[in-house]
Symmetry: C2
Subunit: 402 residues, 2 copies
Amino acid sequence: MMTDVLGVWPENPHQARVLRLLRDDGPASRAELGEAVELSRSKAATEIDRLIERGLVETVGPAASRGGRRSSIVRIAGGTRFLSVSIGATSIEVAITDGELRVISRITEHTELRRGPTAVIGQALELVSKLRADSGTTRFTGAGIGIPGPVSYHEGIPVSPPFMPGWHRFPVREMFGTELGCPVLVDNDVNIMALGEKHAGIAKSFDDFLFVKIGAGIGAGIVVGGSVYRGANGCAGDIGHTAVDDNGPMCVCGNSGCLEAYFGGAALTRDALAAARSGRSDQLAEQLAEAGTLTALDVAHAAAAGDPVAIGMVRDGGRRVGKVLASLVSFFNPGMIVIGGGLAGIGHALLAEIRGVVYRSSLPLATGAMPIVLSEMGDQAGLVGATRMISDHVFTAADAPT
Amino acid sequence: MMTDVLGVWPENPHQARVLRLLRDDGPASRAELGEAVELSRSKAATEIDRLIERGLVETVGPAASRGGRRSSIVRIAGGTRFLSVSIGATSIEVAITDGELRVISRITEHTELRRGPTAVIGQALELVSKLRADSGTTRFTGAGIGIPGPVSYHEGIPVSPPFMPGWHRFPVREMFGTELGCPVLVDNDVNIMALGEKHAGIAKSFDDFLFVKIGAGIGAGIVVGGSVYRGANGCAGDIGHTAVDDNGPMCVCGNSGCLEAYFGGAALTRDALAAARSGRSDQLAEQLAEAGTLTALDVAHAAAAGDPVAIGMVRDGGRRVGKVLASLVSFFNPGMIVIGGGLAGIGHALLAEIRGVVYRSSLPLATGAMPIVLSEMGDQAGLVGATRMISDHVFTAADAPT
């Protein structure tokens, strides 16, 4: 998939498992690690020694005695640094984590995707340089990049992303890889958020679940067997253009009645402006007069303030999202659905509508024990997910020779 | 999952791979096998010798010389026998295959599921005894059982199958296992047909695809990474109860406007009888007068004969199936869709409607290279799929000791 820039990848599946365990569960004694990877004491010791020799793992101190020979505690090398870059519709967020994916420093800056990939990636790389200098980071073990549109994962390039002129087939991974000198993976923001929920969020103990992002657009991240399922062309999870009404409004995609033509940030903003200007909603009209513009989150505020038009908009949207999810629950039988993204901030009014439709319409066997919950990670999901993605990749053994 | 009844399972992943290769590709030289499983010549020889010692593999003769030491040709032991039992709504089909899943003998008999599991399974076991005697089979390496309803795969029991009184949570796997004295797996017929298409059908070279069965009901088998994806509760693939119209006819499931309430064997039969009796279709009225009853396939015949009402029924059905599949294509991004089951016999009129809707409505990136095709296996898909399922299971190594 890519060449090993730094030569620090694990040499075999046992070493890879040790690294992932230390990443996910923190420092552990050699004895515990040996048990966890199901190796004999001497074999485990050999692999751990080799990881220490190669600078991937370090000894912290002696373990509490469990009788017999004393064990020592090891951890992922303290100097391990992963980079996370989340490019959003209007912002870039850059973060540096340690080997256990804990954030060491982060920075966010406004951007405009329509300035094109060279300018935006240049801006991101400047932020990286700044963070690097501030935190004294000399090199990264790997970098995960999220962008808000369809990505050909294996090539590391965006494919026909809407509202991103100039980004189609731009070599995003290559550009970051060349500048950073470390392994880089690029994926769309929804898949990355799903991975974040798997790593540190409410879906931590679930292997098969759906992450549904409701923001400017609506998309799903599909997790199967603990990994992101990307489909034959890498575009699995597109639910924003599911037809919910054949006679509905025209969508930017060219079809009519798509879910996104009714709900999501763009549709809500359009409806909110119409309700404010037509005088149907005094609350929204007031908010418009005050701020000079309205966003989707103003609808959430108006709904929370009891405005009936805004409440109706949230309910209609939740019902339509629920209708699409109901079919997917019967089809995919996920263990859980996590709702995230900017509009998840609308909160329980939205969740209640979605739950109502899904629990009423899906196959009972599929909904029996299936929770539908709001993400608790917020914007951390993408940040953590990007480093989870690249560390999963880096902490994978090359094919072991036999 | 189950105990090893016969003690003939592979001892490690290398042996398991050798067995699967010999099953799928037929006899091979030791040298070829060694290369295919990426083992050194001496290591491969050790594993193959061990398989021969244990009676799983046998030598057929010398291989053509490739220079150097002569290799010999081996194959799966000639006496290997797998059993396939497909329980359908109105028939039982039993077949015996060899280790390469080629059918040695088969038999089909009418049955009535409503007679209950004890009677129907008893009938199936009698057919097995008959085939066994005719073919001189002394023991089975494993048996795969398909039933036409939801199955808890890990328990081997049906769960709330519609129109199957007495089958809910009946220990189907246990009953077959006790009588046959070999490993048994039970799954629903759609998943098994999907596996058959993967093994020997048009989907052979696809790892991620959808198999859609249109018969009495409508269901999907989901293949991810070459294996059946069953979901959190084992009921993934239920697409028959996707709502295609909120104001549609009542469905047996209690919701209204489900796909199956419009299309599939039961709905077509209902609509065909209505069209014949109301005089809207002379063709169907004639067929009804002749045969005394109508089935879904009479609609296919009437449509083929140019009857406009029947053609309309096929088109409407295809359009609704297409609508449901269009959403799933955007969501799941399969590499291919295979249409099978009894009503696939309607053929290209149905296929054309489905294609029209899916190619028009799904995400272009997802449909770009995705074929939508009719199964060419017919009723062989279930037969082969059941033996593929159980042989995959039997030809899997127990956890190798380290």
